[in-house]
């Protein structure tokens, strides 16, 4: 892959996917600074490994996979230092777009899920990935994805009024 083409791809990828990935990382990590770091590192990793991974999956799927792995690494580095980097939805800043109480309830409910269930919820119902894409992102069997989705749905039922329980 020529350098110019790779650079062009990176510029387009940042323009297209930076904000969705930032939202994903924040919702997973609950910390703005950590989320910004994770986004930057995601694009750096994508740049470095562009030739190796390109074509294995779509851009979005591939970037989401790198982003989730980066977020997980960041969370796992926190507990050893006894620093509190747990998700704290209470500290969510006000948005620039007006929101309703229900938006707040939904966001807090999702961010309060255990990490593995938060991950599937964010990928499926926030970022709109298909089950096959989730298998590629999470590198676990489809049955595992389904199991976690079902469990996440059950945990969210009590918090969300608009939750519907039909199967896929």
């Amino acid at each position: 892959m020529e350098r110019d083409q790779r650079r062009e791809w990176l510029e387009e990828a940042i323009a297209r996917w930076e904000k969705p990935i930032l939202h994903l990382c924040f919702a997973y990590l609950g910390d703005t600074a950590l989320a910004e770091d994770a986004v930057q590192e995601t694009f750096l990793k994508a740049w470095r490994h562009y030739d190796r991974f390109r074509g294995e999956a779509g851009d979005k799927t591939w970037l989401m996979r790198i982003a989730m792995n980066t977020c997980k690494d960041q969370l796992k580095s926190a507990w050893f230092r006894n620093t509190d980097r747990s998700v704290t939805p209470d500290l969510l800043p006000e948005g620039s777009v007006p929101f309703e109480e229900q938006d707040d309830t939904v966001t807090r409910a999702v961010m309060s899920l255990p990490p593995k269930l938060r991950e599937v919820t964010l990928l499926r119902w926030y970022q709109g990935l298909s089950l096959e894409e989730m298998v590629q992102v999470m590198r676990v069997p489809r049955s595992t994805v389904n199991y976690r989705l079902k469990k996440a749905k059950t945990m969210l039922q009590g918090s969300l009024e608009e939750w519907y329980d039909e199967e896929e």
Partner: protein, 319 residues
């Protein structure tokens, strides 16, 4: 199902809209890439370089064969076992405690296990004095009645067992945290976060950053060598089987942008932090096979000594 997706997506997009006002990472990414693209002269591999590489490989093997645990890390291993034997507090239950090791002037090492945060009062503190490979353990609630579930004011192994079971199925601490807080308040012993104001947080992170850089600058041993040493120490200390050892997954971020990301000072010693994760049944997240969790080691970057080892089952907390 489409309704769910739209509900979550639109609600979270609105609620997290403050993120859209943040500056783009584009400039930072391009700047880092430009730094990495500085051309490097290609060199032929010389006989001297091959010799040097062989020496590095040999030193890795030597370090792995003779893992050096600090006195604190070795004492913690002894204390962990004594704690389980006397009080039934298992490795998994330690998810609810902070553990510290301090060398004493009389030659002993004191290992303390303090209940985490809101649980500090009810779980109390276990103190183990380790001498000559033997530990004597006492509990701050010794002699108190632990019967009565969460109604008791001192929580021992029975409560810890219940807490783990609840956490495993619910992923939160709702069944016991409120009781723990109420009991602590009743005894005027409510837990308070040590670093709470913005100024304190800023000072803490500035100090942390300085220490990380100092630890990185003190490094004399290659990171790969320290990862190998940490892995061996984890396998031996926690007595992992060969099957479990084969499943250990390294959690050091090899592509970390910040070079000092995994460095820190511990008891004044410059260290490199290595983490391994064990998940023996990834297809069934609801299960927790024995010894699953995260293992972390602090390796002294000057001497290769393992200064601290920690196992975290990941079963406690809010998910």
């Amino acid at each position: 199902m489409k309704k769910n997706r739209e509900t979550i997506r639109s609600a979270m997009d609105r609620r997290l809209s403050f993120l859209d006002d943040l500056p783009s990472c584009r400039a930072g990414v391009l700047e880092q890439i430009a730094r990495e693209e500085v051309p490097v002269m290609k060199k032929k591999v010389s006989v001297g370089m091959v010799f040097a590489m062989v020496l590095v490989l040999l030193s890795v093997a030597a370090l792995a064969a003779g893992i050096l645990l600090s006195r604190g890390a070795d004492a913690a291993r002894v204390a962990d076992k004594a704690l389980e034997e006397k009080y039934g507090v298992t490795q998994e239950m330690l998810t609810y405690f902070y553990r510290e090791e301090k060398e004493q002037s009389d030659g002993a090492v004191r290992v303390t296990y303090t209940g985490k945060d809101d649980l500090e009062y009810v779980l109390g503190t276990y103190t183990a004095d380790v001498r000559d490979g033997r530990a004597e353990v006492v509990w701050s609630h010794d002699g108190e009645d632990t019967a009565g579930g969460y109604e008791a004011e001192a929580w021992g192994k029975e409560q810890l067992k219940e807490m783990l079971a609840w956490n495993a199925t619910k992923g939160n601490m709702d069944a016991f945290r409120p009781q723990a807080v109420a009991i602590a308040e009743k005894h005027n012993a409510a837990w308070k976060q040590q670093i709470s104001t913005d100024e304190e947080k800023k000072a803490y992170f500035e100090q942390l950053e300085k220490e990380k850089t100092a630890a990185l600058e003190a490094r004399k041993i290659p990171e790969e060598e320290m990862k190998v040493a940490a892995r061996e120490a984890v396998i031996r200390t926690y007595e992992l089987s060969s099957e479990q050892a084969a499943l250990l997954e390294l959690y050091v971020q090899p592509l970390a942008v910040e070079k000092n990301a995994w460095y820190r000072m511990y008891e004044g010693k410059p260290c490199f932090e290595v983490q391994y994760f064990l998940d023996q049944d990834p297809e069934h997240p609801e299960t927790h096979p024995d010894k699953d969790g995260t293992y972390a080691a602090l390796v002294n970057v000057e001497t290769g000594v393992i200064e601290k080892l920690v196992y975290e089952s990941g079963l406690g907390g809010e998910g």
